[in-house]
């Protein structure tokens, strides 16, 4: 369960967000303008901030910059109608941790929020080995094992699996994969990511009793143990 602050001036959009997040079991507060949002963010400790870029009184980016200036490092997801590459770069440079252009799918937002929450708090805590069920990914040795079997992976397959396992148990969308694994910022029209996932699935799940890599319809993928 996460404590989330939504800074968004449009009441309907904010209500929709808060309701959606509450249904997922998170606690969500809302602030209607930049100034209130900044105050609330500084006063209580939130796990995640969701900030709209264009806000009354104080611009979203200014809110983030002020937060960071005061030493507050709460992960921030920027939500904005400005979705071009240079807008995103500006947002991330201002101190945002992730950027989601409007209009967005709620599943995408959920996935990104959870990914942010899971993010290691500081560089020192970066894990070198990821484990999901009997699947192990060793980042130092660049090796992957499932049970007793060594699984050879291509470099890009390794990065794909690494990203999925970093966010184990969470939904990861196709856009997140394209942005984080391939570093492209556009929408391919075909299911090019699905193909890569199905190849990876062929390597890590084929011939094993329990599948680990799951497709979440209409959202993306998740890697998790069956017991989960």
């Amino acid at each position: 369960m996460l404590k989330i602050l939504v800074i968004e001036d449009d009441p309907e959009a904010a209500g929709y967000l808060v309701k959606g997040l509450s249904e997922l079991g998170h606690t969500a507060d809302k602030a209607g303008d930049g100034q209130t949002g900044l105050q609330m963010a500084l006063d209580s400790s939130y796990d995640i901030l969701i900030v709209d870029r264009m806000l009354p009184k104080l611009d979203g980016l200014a809110v983030i910059q002020e937060l960071r200036r005061q030493g507050n490092h709460t992960p921030v997801l920027i939500l904005s109608a400005l979705g071009q590459v240079d807008d995103r770069v500006k947002g991330l440079k201002a101190g945002g941790d992730d950027y989601l252009p409007k209009p967005y799918a709620f599943t995408e937002l959920q996935a990104r929020v959870e990914a942010l929450a899971r993010r290691p708090k500081s560089a020192g805590q970066v894990e070198t080995t990821y484990k999901v069920g009997d699947l192990t990914l060793d980042r130092m040795a660049h090796s992957c094992r499932r049970g007793e079997t060594d699984i050879p992976l291509q470099p890009r397959e390794f990065r794909l699996l690494e990203y999925l396992m970093q966010h184990a148990g969470q939904v990861v969308t196709r856009t997140m994969l394209l942005e984080n694994v391939w570093e492209y910022h556009f929408d391919p029209q075909t299911n090019v990511i699905d193909v890569h996932i199905s190849r990876l699935r062929g390597k890590i799940d084929k011939g094993f009793d329990t599948p680990l890599l799951h497709t979440i319809r209409g959202a993306g993928y998740t890697i998790r143990d069956a017991v989960h």
Binding site: G83, Q84, V85, D86, P103, R156, W182, Y184, H185, F186, D187, P188, Q189, T190, N191, V192, V195, H196, R199, G218
Partner: protein, 483 residues
Amino acid sequence: MTRFTRFTRTTAFKLSLLYIAVFTVMSGFLLVYVSENTDHLMSEQVVQSVDSELKGLADVYVRGGVRDLVETIDSRSRHPDASLYLLTDFAGNALVGNIARLPTTVLEEADGGLRRVRYTRLGQNSEDVERQAMVRTFELRGGFRLLVGRDLGDQLRFSNLLGNALRLWLIVVVVMAAITWFFVSRRVMKRIDDMSATSRTIMQGDLSGRLSIAGTNDEFDRLAVNLNTMLDRIELLMQSMKDVTDNIAHDLKTPLTRLQTRIETALREAKGEEGYRTALEAALDESDQLLRVFNALLRIARIESMAPGTVMEPTDLNRLVAEISELYEPLVEDEGGRLETDVPAGLMAECNRDLISQVLVNLIENALKYGRPEEGGLVIRLTGLTENGRVCLAVTDNGPGIPEKDQDRVKERFVRLEESRSEPGTGLGLSLVKAVARLHGGDLRFKNEAPGLSARIDLEPVEPDSSRSGHEQGGTSGEQERS
């Protein structure tokens, strides 16, 4: 404001006024200078001739006394030239000479000094005409007084003539200057007026108006050419804006209507929760598709208006193509095809990585959809080469190609050759490719390769690239082998 006051307020008029003023002052200065100088020169001459005359007469007087002097003066006086003589006795009575009347003071102050006098000449029917002369007067022994001088008539006539000529010249200069400037300024004003008139019609909304070019390549022509180029650019931008609006009106209305119908149908024929769910999911798909079209349109419009801030940097095309091919190879293989790349190592171009990657993706996806040959497997080739000083990226398939007549049409927004529009897609992929190519100063070109279609865009090369012509040949021949 009358036409005249408007005229007097122009820069041209003020300039010509200044020009005339300066010229008048200069001419006046010249006039004064020349007349002063000639006057001086001629006075010198008069003095010299008077002095030499005196010297001769002095000799006569020394040798022969008054008698000889009288004779000599008498004979010289008879010559009708400019020389003047007068010899008087102690009482002031004229003994001999050719002067009828002159102020008495001249003879009284006989100190040999030079003076300018008014006199009347003897004989020649001109007694009553006062003339001017330069004279010297001496007192001789026995009270005789001798006056020798020279008439200034010629000199005065000459300086009059000179003055008149200079004055006339000045008038002609001023008039000519005024006429020249009048025409020049009228011409200049006319061109400026033309420009204002044209810009007024353009401001009123007629963007097709252009400034006229006289063909003289003067500064007005250059200004007009530059403004026309600017207008072309603006017109293009306006046109593309209009196209976007038109296309949105045409092509987004259809899916929007479909969406509306679906929702209405679902509401009318309530089939329980499951029915609603299905209808909502379908509606969501439809709106997703709409958003995709909308985003693509905005992106194209942004690229076409040369979005400022588009980062262009030297990019290794070999690497860029390798990355895209790595992303797409599995997909092409799953579709039963083959993806090949042929880009010389170190082929660099000045471009935006993200946009060029998207171009390649669009072209590959097009090849996947439409480039499948009748029989045999699909082969998609990504080729990079230098050609005519430009770096080219080509995506070639071995499918049926596009008929020549449609090759330009497919680049337009929403144009899909497949009339049924049953395949997924927006009809915007190639428009985006074209826009990106334009942004990089090139164009999208198609070529039927029999079999197959090659789609090619060209990019600005990065400098230390001239040494790679060997690779370029390899790239070209590789392509030829295939066809």
